[in-house]
């Protein structure tokens, strides 16, 4: 009898074929519609920012892999995903050093020093944007950074208009125009319809869960509605809040990040709604123009505790 070598391993011997890289690349695919409109609106600077963001995020991860002497993980696409989403939040005219510093904060500070993929307590992109917003807030003033563009639509950042001039300043914004990306903002964050399409693609693929985006948007809507009812002259209507700023990209791409969001049904609803409520609170009574970044950051903080709310396991009485 010939002696053959067989592979011995443990059950199960089947796998459904899912892997981290396909999750990352599918999320990048979902971002394409929103990015395309960004390219169309802002031209080559937007392409440059995206390319630099993706490549520098991957290089930072490679550098960290080498320094920490761990396996090279840039092949899983997670760094590329961080680069993509980070670029979507930036104004198209961001200088090169801002992009590289931002991806450093995202990949190194936001993810790698916690121990890499799966260990980050906060969404890396949100951490990076929060640090940059505090450090160089002028670069996130979209009215200032996009000054040199000649748009066919109102070239004022809607949320800033609301903050500084009240509801009378936003009457000229049309909801359909806002959804179609006829507004200024982050290069991949303004095309609401594109983000929704990408988000639905991700939900159908099972990569993100509907609970978080839906409860996030519901939180924004209901809170904004309550404010609006209480004083419609002072507070904008809820649809405006949903269509502007980082709301939609926050709902579908930021709040749903795997490691920093809950996994159980009730906690997903609670955390999403909480982030939504916080967003409107910051926008309406807080100091900042947009509250999505900070509200998601706070949501990430309470996620581990929220996730303790879970169904009773089989055979457990308590």
């Amino acid at each position: 009898m010939q002696n053959r070598q067989f592979i011995v391993s443990h059950a199960p011997f089947w796998h459904n074929g899912s892997k981290i890289s396909s999750r990352s690349y599918n999320t990048i695919i979902a971002a394409i519609p929103a990015l395309l409109l960004g390219f169309f609106n802002y031209g080559s600077p937007a392409v440059g920012v995206l390319a630099l963001s993706i490549s520098s995020a991957m290089i930072w991860e490679l550098v960290m892999n080498l320094i920490t002497r761990r396996p090279i993980t840039i092949g899983d696409g997670n760094a590329a995903l961080i680069g993509t989403v980070f670029a979507m939040l930036l104004p198209a005219t961001s200088p090169w050093w801002l992009v590289i510093t931002g991806t450093f904060f995202a990949v190194v500070i936001g993810k790698e020093i916690f121990g890499g993929i799966g260990s980050n307590a906060f969404n890396p992109v949100v951490v990076a944007v929060a640090i940059l917003m505090v450090s160089w807030k002028d670069f996130f003033d979209f009215d200032e950074t996009l000054l040199n563009y000649d748009f066919e639509f109102i070239a004022a950042y809607p949320l800033a208009q609301l903050k500084h001039f009240g509801t009378s300043a936003i009457t000229s914004f049309d909801t359909v125009d806002l959804l179609m990306g006829q507004q200024t903002g982050g290069m991949g964050a303004t095309f609401g319809l594109g983000i929704i399409i990408g988000g639905i693609y991700l939900i159908i693929k099972g990569i993100i869960r509907w609970e978080i985006p839906v409860s996030f948007l519901a939180g924004v809507f209901i809170t904004a509605l309550l404010f609006n009812i209480s004083d419609s002259a002072k507070y904008a209507n809820p649809v405006f809040h949903i269509c502007t700023g980082y709301t939609l990209i926050g709902a579908f791409f930021l709040a749903t990040e795997d490691s920093s969001s809950p996994v159980n049904f009730v906690p997903m609803l609670l955390c999403g709604a909480f982030a939504g409520i916080m967003t409107v609170l910051i926008r309406n009574i807080g100091l900042y123009v947009d509250g999505v970044i900070y509200s998601i950051l706070i949501m990430n903080l309470i996620c581990p505790i929220m996730d303790k709310i879970r169904p009773k396991a089989l055979g457990k009485v308590v």
Binding site: M1, R4, Q5, F6, I7, V8, S9, H10, A11, P12, F13, W14, H15, N16, G17, S18, K19, I20, R23, P71, D76, G115, G116, I117, G118, S119, I203, I204, K205, G206, I207, R209, W210, D258, S259, S261, V263, N264, D307, R310, P311, K312, A313, L314, G315, K316, V317
Partner: protein
């Protein structure tokens, strides 16, 4: 292999195989030259030659018992006549020690008559003495455990794992033997509460039996005892308790049919029926004697294996891989599966990315994402206390869906094994073994 579909929102629906309506004829495979029997050793005892009443060169006849000690319930029944070729220790899964007894088959078959003489004596004692090594019958010993009295017997006509149709086949093809077996069960145990669990398409056959019949879903893992008790009987099993602890004994349909056949024919049954799953996932029912080496079965079915293929005893979700073609058919081998090296799925070294797929697929609602973090750090006690380790029913779905391809199922089984070892004060935990 069942892959995730494009639309991945729904959780995976794995359907167990339903037996085709045209009854397949099992492929009979005979032993070519040699049979091997694995005799389970008590914990702490390694397999070897010294402690047996038989030795190499002894003649063995069909139906003869090979036992560790004359009165022991651990024995194997030789399915062939011949000469003992070798007695060797063999280490199985999780450090379980066996003694492998190889028997060279002789031309002429002689049959042991001891069982036949006691045929009129239908008692539990007699069954323990002769039939525990018959196909599927090892759980019969649960009936005589006085520490855990049994009040309900559930006969499963449904196989636990995917692609396996062994017990469905027995229920359909050998209903008379099952009927006879149930009568014997009632007589020896005095238990009236006997329930047959059958899939919907075998209801017609099962309803001919004079007992309560309950339907089992084809959805994997509905046929697992823990889920059957919760969903069908409505009495969920407390975690950390086995079915026997709460007075329920699960028997396979095959074992009951074997009981029936044994007392009808006056012979200890040695023919094992099992499902053979080929590389292309097509199935053949095979009937072979216990002790037949797998190489004979591969030859008989014309299956050729290459380097780096995989041989699996049991189904794709819960089976275990063996490293040698000499591994024999055992009384509990319900399926043998071969997998091409190209289809072998590998695990990765990634940590949990908290995607939540396992949470949504776990039928026992175990917080797998947190559990696996503790198990990776070998914090087994904490895992059992805080994250419901003992609620796990060992279906393997968490590993099946894991995006990071963590061997979650193996982590869980290892943890349970280590905890069981510490509880019973044994020193054969994997860690200590490695230290030696």
């Amino acid at each position: 292999m069942i892959k995730k579909s494009f639309i991945g929102m729904a959780k995976p629906q794995l359907l167990c195989e339903a037996l085709e309506s045209a009854l397949p004829e099992p492929e009979k495979i005979s032993i070519s030259a040699r049979a091997t029997f694995l005799l389970k050793m008590p914990p702490g005892q390694s397999g070897g030659k010294s402690s047996f009443s038989f030795e190499e060169g002894d003649k063995v006849i069909t139906g003869q018992k090979l036992a560790l000690a004359p009165k022991s319930n651990e024995y194997v029944v030789s399915s062939v006549t011949g000469k003992i070729l070798s007695i060797k220790p063999f280490e199985g899964n999780f450090g379980q020690m066996y003694t492998a007894v190889s028997i060279e088959t002789a031309q002429k078959e002689e049959k042991e008559k001891a069982f036949k003489k006691t045929l009129a004596d239908v008692t539990l004692e007699n069954i323990n003495k002769y039939l525990l090594n018959s196909p599927g019958c090892s759980s019969l010993r649960l009936l005589s455990d006085s520490a855990k009295p049994i009040s309900t017997i559930i006969i499963s006509g449904m196989d636990k794992d995917l692609l396996v149709t062994t017990n469905q086949y027995i229920l359909k093809s050998d209903i008379n033997a099952v009927k006879k077996g149930i009568e014997i069960l009632k007589k020896i145990s005095g238990i009236d509460k006997i329930i047959v669990a059958a899939p919907r398409h075998l209801m017609h056959e099962a309803s001919g039996l004079d007992v309560t019949v309950k339907t089992v879903d084809l959805n994997y893992p509905a046929a697992f005892p823990e889920l059957f008790m919760k969903n069908v009987l409505g009495t969920p099993l407390p975690a950390e308790k086995s079915c026997e602890d709460s007075g329920v004994c699960f028997l396979s349909c095959e074992s009951v049919a074997c009981l029936g056949k044994a007392f009808e024919k006056g012979e200890i049954p040695v023919e094992k029926t099992f499902t053979f799953i080929k590389k292309d996932e097509s199935k053949v029912l095979v009937s072979a004697k216990i002790g037949t080496p797998l190489s004979d079965i591969f030859q008989g079915l014309g299956v050729s294996l290459k380097d780096k293929d995989r041989i699996i005893i049991g189904g794709p979700m819960t089976g275990f891989a063996v490293y040698s073609e000499d591994y024999p058919v055992m009384p509990d081998t319900d399926a043998v599966m071969v997998q091409d090296s190209a289809d072998v799925s590998y695990t990765s070294g990634y940590p949990c990315i908290n995607c939540g797929e396992c949470i949504r697929t776990c039928p026992a609602k175990v917080p797998v994402n947190m559990l696996v973090r503790l198990l990776e750090a070998e914090l087994y006690d904490e895992a059992a206390e805080q994250y419901d380790l003992h609620s796990c029913i060992e279906c393997g779905l968490c590993s099946y869906v894991c995006t990071a391809r963590i061997p979650v199922f193996q982590y869980i089984r290892l943890a349970k094994h280590e905890l069981a070892c510490t509880d019973s004060g044994e020193d054969n935990t994997a860690e200590e073994k490695n230290a030696k």
